[in-house]
């Protein structure tokens, strides 16, 4: 698990960089192993379990995108669910109404959200922190109003139903297990792409942007381009998630793309561990799968869920990934010396 570039002095950072190749491989191994396990996991789980797993992965993609904008580049966005909605509606309309191939619709959804993210990124150059959050909040509401009010296009409050599922080499993916495996593959590809990006100079530029934009600029990082890119790529991931969400649920209406869902995605980033590559999977697990597990406690399940999340964030503001990292460091004794030394 990679750590975010820490706020500490140079000493721990150097030790992290020295340990980087090993930890990076760890993430790759985790992703590959995870994909293999998830490929076989639903066997014998029933359609419900399979569906929840697929939903978890789809939400993970959206959270990965937000993790890039927030966790790596430090830009607070409250529009991730709106971008997911753009992708979902684009895919639903292109495949359902125009009969387009899902792969083309997937690519177009990504392109549309990338382009809109780029446009929305411009105010991000001028406003910072909560002001940026307000700009994205306004955008989120705007998208939601369009989805709801433009009934001729989006079906309005009645939503769009009978969204077709894609096929692979002529094989229809209508079954729960087949579609789940398809989602696993797409999620894996997107996660690997992000893993590669974070390791590339782009990833380092994003982190520099988060830690100290002035210093980054003085070192020759084009802050304008990287801010826009972080926003656009993060949004495109939401678009990809939407493109999978629509055929997964086979029905969309504006409610899963409202402002409150953007907040929920933000919660998943923070609870999973913002700035950790595997954080989004843990965050989405908390946000999507935990409430389903908690159904056994009956009508109190949402209260129990909220309590768990609050306790988690009090105990560990860096999210579950931060907690795991601390635990790992304690177990191996690594970093401890460096940290105390730094202090």
């Amino acid at each position: 698990m990679t750590a975010p570039a820490t706020h500490g002095s140079a000493t721990p950072r150097q030790s992290r960089i020295a340990a980087l190749p090993a930890s990076v491989d760890g993430i790759l191994v985790t992703l590959v192993l995870g994909a293999v396990i998830l490929w076989f996991a639903p066997v014998g789980m029933g359609r419900y379990g399979t569906y929840v797993l697929s939903l978890w992965l789809v939400m993970s993609i959206a959270v990965m995108g937000l993790n890039l904008t927030l966790g790596y580049a430090g830009l607070k966005s409250l529009a991730q669910a709106a971008f997911m909605g753009l992708g979902a509606y684009a895919t639903a309309l292109l495949t359902g109404k125009l009969g387009m191939n899902w792969y083309a619709a997937f690519a177009i959804s990504g392109l549309i959200t990338f382009a809109v993210g780029l446009l929305l990124g411009f105010p991000a150059l001028r406003v910072q922190a909560h002001y940026l959050a307000f700009v994205t909040l306004a955008f989120s509401t705007l998208i939601w109003l369009i989805l709801r009010n433009e009934q001729w296009l989006t079906g309005g409050v009645f939503g769009l139903s009978n969204i077709p599922r894609p096929s692979v080499f002529g094989l229809k993916l209508d079954g729960a297990l087949a579609f789940h495996r398809f989602v696993v593959v797409v999620t894996f590809i997107l996660a690997i792409a992000l893993w590669w990006m974070i390791r590339s100079p782009w990833g380092r530029a994003f982190m520099a942007l988060r830690e100290n934009p002035v210093r980054a600029a003085s070192l020759g990082v084009d802050t304008r381009m990287y801010t826009l890119l972080a926003f656009a790529i993060g949004s495109a991931y939401a678009g990809f998630a939407g493109a999978l969400y629509a055929p997964l649920v086979e029905f969309i209406d504006p409610s899963p793309f409202s402002l409150s869902q953007s907040f929920f995605l933000l919660l998943m980033v923070v609870a999973g561990g913002s700035g950790y590559l595997l954080g989004p999977f843990i965050g989405a697990l908390l946000g999507v799968v935990l409430p389903e597990w908690l159904r056994v406690v009956g009508s109190l399940y949402l209260i129990v869920f909220a309590t768990i999340v609050m306790l988690l964030l009090i105990a560990c503001p860096q999210g579950v990934s931060g907690l795991l990292e601390r635990g790992w460091a304690k177990l191996t004794g690594k970093n401890n010396l460096a940290k105390t030394g730094a202090r």
Binding site: G46, R47, Y51, Q151, V157, F158, G159, V249, E250
Partner: protein, 377 residues
């Protein structure tokens, strides 16, 4: 040889009680949190009441009912998961959801599994998709709105009407159903006002209504919003008749709106105040158990369980697919199944046909003024 027969008989006798104790599982997938929580909680309580009644009297064909409630959070993705879970767990029939969006997202699942799904939704489009396994538990908007238009024309004698609706699937469906009916009756729509789900302040909308000078106001909002609108209308001094459909005259609205609800009139599909002893009896039982008055959603939930019971007893076996086949096109009479409360005809597309009522709120109570016949008597 004789011994073997005795053994077989003994084994058979032993297994009988085991069979009798066997349970039939119904799963209720409903809005217990989010925007639909008020409607969903009433629906759930109605179901629990029916299940307790039926189990106390020996269950369905000797089997006790096991009921499980799953929350949809008023979210389509979660509703779909919950219905899928219900089917994976071997539900005999699915009850709910109540809101049309969650129904739209989950109805294909029950359809594919060939399991009857009895829903509380009233939106017109639900039964227009050729789903053979979806059944309503109340009149649809397409059935209710012509009655309202007729009432506005003949009884209220309104030449123009202000239409206030909530911009969700329920409100938009109602609005799209009433406007053509008003036009057909030669009534002018003075002003057409969409409002938000969960809206707190209705002062601006009430002023728009007042300025429109309409002869009557048709209010089509969810429970809490209806009450807030009535209060705002009273504050703005609107004296024109307030006309509504079921929700506006519901117990929850009357409780929340207080004085402002007095004088409200309209059409009621199901009401615990209807002049039918079985309804009032239900109302009393509900009040005693939950300590508040049930609205129409409580009645819908109650009837849904009895629809499943009636169909099962009619086919004399527990055949999941058979429940839907038996319900389609059937007429259930209270003489055959008292729990259905009033004669109900199920159309082949899953719509219902029933008597309904005209009502008025007087001194904080809903009073039924007339009973309207079935559409196809």
């Amino acid at each position: 040889m004789k011994m073997q027969w005795i053994l077989a008989a003994a084994l058979g006798a032993l297994s009988l009680p085991a069979l009798a104790q066997d349970k039939v599982k119904l799963v209720d997938v409903v809005e217990l949190s989010g925007a639909g929580a008020t409607a969903g909680t009433n629906w759930k309580n109605g179901i629990d009441l029916a299940v307790a009644d039926i189990n106390a009297k020996g269950g369905i064909l000797g089997k006790q009912i096991e009921i499980v409630h799953y929350d949809t959070q008023t979210n389509p993705g979660n509703s779909r998961a919950a219905v899928q879970r219900a089917i994976d767990e071997g539900a005999y029939a699915v009850l709910g959801p109540v809101f049309s969006g969650p129904i739209g997202a989950s109805m294909q699942i029950a359809q594919r599994a060939e399991i009857a799904q009895l829903v509380g939704g009233e939106a017109a489009n639900l039964t227009k998709q050729g789903n053979q396994y979806l059944f309503r538990t109340s009149l649809s908007q397409t059935a209710a709105m012509p009655k309202i238009a007729k009432y506005l024309k003949d009884t209220v004698k309104a030449g123009s009407v202000a239409v206030v609706w909530v911009n969700n699937d329920f409100g938009k469906g109602g609005r799209d159903a009433i406007i053509p009916e008003l036009e057909k009756s030669g009534i002018k729509v003075a002003v057409d006002i969409p409002t938000e789900q969960g809206q707190a302040d209705f002062a601006a909308d009430a002023i728009k209504v007042k300025n429109s000078n309409a002869d009557a106001v048709f209010v089509y909002l969810n429970e809490e919003e209806s009450a807030r609108f009535l209060r705002a209308a009273k504050q703005q001094g609107i004296t024109k008749p307030m006309i509504g459909e079921t929700t506006l005259l519901g117990a929850k609205v009357i409780e929340l709106a207080g004085d402002a609800a007095n004088g409200v009139k309209g059409h009621v599909g199901l009401s615990i105040d209807a002049p039918i002893p079985a309804f009032q009896e239900f109302g009393k039982k509900f009040q005693a158990k939950y300590n508040y008055a049930s609205d129409h959603n409580g009645l819908k939930g109650y009837m849904a369980v009895y629809m499943v019971k009636w169909a099962t007893e009619k086919q004399k076996k527990f055949d999941k697919k058979g429940v839907a086949d038996t319900l389609r096109g059937a007429t259930i009479k209270p003489s055959d199944e008292p729990g259905i409360l009033m004669e109900t005809t199920i159309e082949p597309n899953g719509d219902l046909d029933r008597e309904s009522f005209l009502a008025e709120v007087k001194d904080g109570k809903q009073v039924i003024t007339a009973t309207l016949p079935k559409i196809k008597p």
